[in-house]
Amino acid sequence: MNWRAAKAIYCFEMARMWRTLAQSIASPVISTALYFVVFGAAIGSRIDQIDGISYGSFIVPGLIMMSVLTESISNASFGIYFPRFTGTIYEVLTAPVSYIEVLLGFVGAAATKSMLLGVLILSTAFFFVPLEIRHPLLMIVFLILTSVTFSLFGFIIGIWADGWEKLQIIPILIVTPLAFLGGSFYSINMLPPVWQKVSLMNPVVYLISGFRWSFYEKSDVNLGISLTMITVFLIACILIVRWMFNSGYRLRS
């Protein structure tokens, strides 16, 4: 294990975040704050409680998850795509490292960023709505698992993409719709039965539902299933990255 390499990549990527602090942190925080104002305060005041929770509070876990998820993907995919684009990736490819150090560095940094972001949004939420977190430890576990898994997923996109369009296409066409329909703003139980079934095919539903449970002990689907789903996805992503590195896919010719 080349720990120094993992650390070097991690610090390099974190330094990039501090340089682009405005993009990395400010814009997701501002847009989430806008959600609170629009959905929580303006519209939410006309919506009944859901599962005994006020609407403004109900949407907090979902909003955090949505931001963490999309930011993980965009941070990690950009983090690896950019050096490929500029050519500086040569250094990583010729360094005495395996995919493990590369993942610890790139994915570790991307996941750290989105976790920080999650915590920041949570703190912002305290200003707008009453919140309680019944299972803080479980909440943190969810936050970590989600950040790491979707950073891995973003990393895969960043290696797969061979143009800027491709880098954007999966987040826009798949992730954003799934996240929006993932039950951030409503409970699955509010949907007609057919759509409830369809929703269960959306992995984000499990994520948000499980995360919400750690806040309010209320969820649409079983907690165990949520945790299992995300762990399976995590392992699948790791295996894909390992395959990419060992086969040289889009990295070595």
């Binding site: 080349n2 120094r4 390499a5 610090c11 250094e91 040289g248 010719s253």
Partner: protein, 306 residues
């Protein structure tokens, strides 16, 4: 283990079926400067890429300091520094940060004294706090060299180090390469400038269309393949060349004051005595006689055309 790098039966066929390297065998001695000379597209970058881990060989074996580059890639990559052909650097990092990053990436503990010395040797010390994007092309190239040297490699690959670099800087670079060699680093560089190989290398390998045509000490190469030119400066301008002399394929200059004769210096029967005798008999007298070794460029063109 005398050689620092050994390449055996290396083949590379790119996806799509293009064979960029054909059964290359190459051994590099410890501490030498080796120039890999060949026209564009010959396979120089591919060869370097195979050693450094950018290119996956189709078949063959590569050992660096006795370690296999596949099984023992961590060990071999620690030993290697690469300055690639393309100028690719980060933009927003400072020179100091980027060089220290490279050192860490290659698994070395921080050593500010060493990094400082490296930057000073490359005349980058004054620029250490500058972000890389503010540097000129030549300076960026130096930053890439500093990065490649950051982890104290035993072997340094320079892929066309002076392509697109102005003459003055090129001479500067040559000096630095020689200075590096004195510290015990083995240097392998590619170039398509003959002059560069001639100036810098101890040994030269010539590659063309994926085949390593030959490897030879520079002096032996020049001796072995060297055509020489004999130039006879005449005391008085010559009207016409006597017919008897056509077989020598002589070249009379425009002022008709000098005769040029090209001969094979490796042959015993080089024709010089006969030619001079004939000329004297025809009444020529000479102001000066001198010979000149043909340059690598001429050798190269001859070899590659074969």
């Amino acid at each position: 283990m005398s050689e620092i790098l050994s390449i055996q039966n290396l083949n590379k066929t790119y996806e799509g079926g293009f064979q960029a390297l054909k059964n290359v065998n190459l051994f590099i001695n410890r501490g030498e400067i080796f120039a890999l000379l060949g026209p564009n597209g010959a396979g120089k970058t591919t060869l370097i890429g195979a050693v450094c881990g950018m290119v996956r060989p189709t078949s063959g074996q590569i050992l660096v300091d006795g370690h296999d580059i596949v099984q023992d890639f961590r060990r071999t990559r620690e030993l290697i520094g690469l300055v690639p052909q393309e100028l690719s650097t980060d933009s927003f990092e400072t020179v100091w940060d980027t060089v220290n990053f490279s050192r860490g990436l290659f698994g070395q503990p921080p050593n500010t004294d060493y990094v400082e010395a490296t930057l000073k040797n490359l005349s980058l010390w004054d620029k250490r706090k500058n972000t890389i994007r503010t540097l000129s092309g030549g300076m960026k190239r130096r930053v890439m060299i500093a990065k490649a040297l950051s982890h104290e490699p035993k072997v340094l690959f320079l892929d066309e180090p002076t392509a697109g670099v102005d003459v003055e800087l090129r001479k500067d670079m040559w000096d630095q390469v020689h200075a590096l060699q004195k510290t015990g680093v083995t240097i392998i560089l590619t170039t398509h400038y003959i002059e560069e190989a001639e100036e810098m290398a101890d040994r030269i390998g010539i590659i063309s269309k994926g085949e390593l045509i030959l490897t030879e000490c520079k002096s032996a190469l020049m001796r072995k393949l060297g055509r020489k030119e004999l130039v006879l400066d005449l005391a008085e301008p010559l009207g016409t060349l006597p017919d008897r002399l056509t077989k020598y394929k002589l070249d009379l200059n425009a002022e008709r004051t000098a005769i040029k004769y090209e001969f094979d210096s490796t042959s015993d029967d080089n024709g010089i005595s006969e030619l001079v005798g004939e000329l004297v008999r025809s009444g020529c007298s000479f102001k000066d006689i001198h010979t000149k070794q043909s340059s690598l460029e001429e050798i190269f063109i001859r070899l590659v055309k074969k």
